[in-house]
C-alpha cells in the first residue's frame, strides 16, 4: 500500500498559464445543438483554452515558472531539480523536454531535470517525486512543472473528447523546510485499464504509419484516427467515481483526520457529473471543493494547480489551509496528497 510521507518539505508557490485563445463549446459547429447543451450542463465545460500550432505545453509551463520565480524573488541557483510532468512533450521521444526547460529558464547546470509522462494523476505524483528529493535537505528548492495540450490530441468529430480537453501549464515551487509539516500521499495504479484513455498509434507498440492518419468511425459513431486520443468515457467515469473517493478515504483514515481537518479538497477536473459524485460520496460541502472546469475544461495534470490559482487565490492568501489534492485518470493512475499550505505564494493567472 503506497502510503507515503515526505517530511521537511512544503509547497511555497504556485502559478498557472493558459493560452489566450478561448474556444466556446456553444459555438461548436460539428455536433447537434441538443447534444452540446446537454454536454455543457452535465459535464460542466462552457469553454476551454486552445494552444494552436504555435504553443507547446512546455511554453505554458515556462511562462508560469518565469512568473513564479520573479514574483517570489527566487534565486535560480537555489533550484536543484525541475520535473516536467506531461504527455505533450516538445519532441517524440527525445530529448526530454525538462532538459530544454532547464536551459530556457537559465537554471544551473547542476540541476536534475527529467520528464514524467503522467496525465491526470501527474500533479500528485510530481509533488511526491520532488518532495522525496527535497526531504533530506540536500536540495533546497524544486520546481514542478505540469501541463498538457490535450486539445491537440482530440479529433474534432469525436464527441467523447472534442469538447472536453483544454490546454494549460502550471509551476509549483517546493522548498526544504525543517519546520514544515510535510506532505502525505497515497498513490496507486491499475494498468488493466490502460485502454480507457489511449493514443493507440505513434509509439513503439503500434508505430506511426500512413494509416495512423486515416479516420475511422466506430459502432458508437465516434470518429478518430490512430494518433488521436481514444477515450472510453464510461470506463473512466466508472473508475473515477469508485477510486477517487477510495484514495481520499484511504489517506484520511490513515492520518486519522475528518472533513473538519480539510479546508479545501481540490480534485482533478474531469467532468462535473463525475466530480460532484465524488464530492458527495466523501460528504464534502460545496464550498470546500473548487472548480475550474467551466472556463478551462479538463486540463490533465495542470487541473489541480490551475484550480488553486483561479478559484482559491484569495482564500489561500488569507490564511494557512489544510488541503486534499486528488488526481485520477490515464494509466489508470491515481493519488491523493494532504498538506498544509501556509504562506503560499499564488501568482496571478498568466495568459500566453
Amino acid at each position: 500500500m503506497a502510503l507515503l510521507y515526505n517530511k521537511n518539505v512544503s509547497v511555497t508557490g504556485i502559478s498557472a498559464c493558459v493560452p489566450r485563445e478561448v474556444v466556446r463549446n456553444q459555438d461548436n459547429g460539428v455536433f447537434a445543438e441538443n447534444d452540446i447543451k446537454s454536454f455543457i450542463s452535465n459535464v460542466g465545460i462552457e469553454e476551454y483554452r486552445a494552444s494552436g500550432p504555435g504553443i507547446c505545453a512546455s511554453d505554458l509551463c515556462v511562462a508560469a515558472a518565469e512568473k513564479l520565480i520573479e514574483d517570489m524573488g527566487i534565486n535560480k541557483e537555489d533550484i536543484g531539480i525541475v520535473v516536467f510532468v506531461s504527455q505533450s512533450p516538445d519532441y517524440y521521444f527525445l530529448p526530454n523536454t525538462a532538459c530544454i526547460i532547464q536551459h530556457r529558464l537559465h537554471l544551473s547546470k547542476e540541476t536534475l531535470a527529467f520528464d514524467v509522462p503522467l496525465g491526470c494523476s501527474g500533479y500528485v505524483y510530481g509533488l511526491n517525486m520532488i518532495a522525496s528529493y527535497l526531504s533530506s535537505g540536500q536540495i533546497k528548492k524544486g520546481l514542478l512543472l505540469v501541463g498538457d495540450t490535450g486539445s491537440k490530441t482530440t479529433n474534432a468529430k469525436d464527441k467523447s473528447s472534442a469538447l472536453l480537453f483544454g490546454d494549460a501549464g502550471a509551476a509549483t515551487m517546493l522548498e526544504y523546510d525543517p519546520n514544515a509539516s510535510g506532505i502525505h500521499f497515497h498513490l496507486a495504479t491499475d494498468g488493466s485499464g490502460y485502454k480507457a484513455i489511449i493514443v493507440p498509434e505513434g509509439g513503439f507498440r503500434n508505430r506511426f504509419s500512413h494509416e495512423s492518419l486515416i479516420e475511422k468511425t466506430d459502432a458508437e459513431g465516434l470518429t478518430r484516427c490512430g494518433i488521436n486520443v481514444h477515450l472510453d468515457g464510461f470506463d473512466v467515469f466508472s473508475f473515477g467515481i469508485t477510486e477517487a473517493p477510495k484514495t481520499v478515504k484511504k489517506l484520511t483514515e490513515h492520518l486519522g483526520i475528518t472533513n473538519d481537518h480539510i479546508d479545501f479538497a481540490v480534485f482533478h477536473q474531469a467532468n462535473k457529473m463525475m466530480n460532484e459524485k465524488i464530492r458527495k460520496k466523501l460528504a464534502l460541502p460545496e464550498d470546500k471543493v473548487p472548480y475550474s472546469l467551466k472556463k478551462f475544461g479538463n486540463t490533465s495534470s495542470a487541473s489541480i494547480p490551475l484550480t488553486i490559482v483561479t478559484a482559491l487565490r484569495e482564500q489561500l492568501h488569507k490564511k494557512s489551509s489544510s488541503v486534499i489534492l486528488c488526481g485520477f485518470g490515464v494509466g489508470l493512475s491515481w493519488g491523493t496528497a494532504y498538506t498544509t499550505l501556509g504562506n503560499l505564494f499564488l501568482s496571478e493567472l498568466v495568459e500566453l
Binding site: G233, F234, D235, F237, S238, M273
Partner: protein, 75 residues
C-alpha cells in the same frame, strides 16, 4: 440485487421516456432518449444503489436491460 428495482431505477434516469414503456426486454440503446449522458447516469445509479461497477464494455455488449442486469448482478 432486485431485478424489478433495478429496472425502475434504470427507467428513472430518463426524463421524457414513459417508464411503463421500459421493460427488461427493452433494447435500451435504441430508445430515442438514449445518450452518453444517460449512460453516465446509469453507471452512477448502479454504483450508488448497488455498489456495482458498469463498464463501457457492459454497455456495448448488452442489448437489453435484462442482459445488462445479468452481467452486473453476478459480480
Amino acid at each position: 440485487m432486485d431485478k424489478d428495482a433495478f429496472l425502475k431505477s434504470f427507467a428513472d434516469q430518463f426524463d421524457d421516456t414513459d417508464p411503463a414503456s421500459i421493460t427488461l426486454d427493452t433494447k435500451f440503446k435504441e430508445l430515442e432518449e438514449w445518450s452518453s449522458m444517460v449512460a453516465l447516469m446509469i453507471i452512477a445509479m448502479a454504483d450508488e444503489n448497488y455498489n456495482k461497477k458498469i463498464t463501457g464494455a457492459d454497455l456495448r455488449e448488452s442489448g437489453t436491460i435484462g442482459q445488462l442486469y445479468e452481467r452486473i448482478s453476478s459480480r
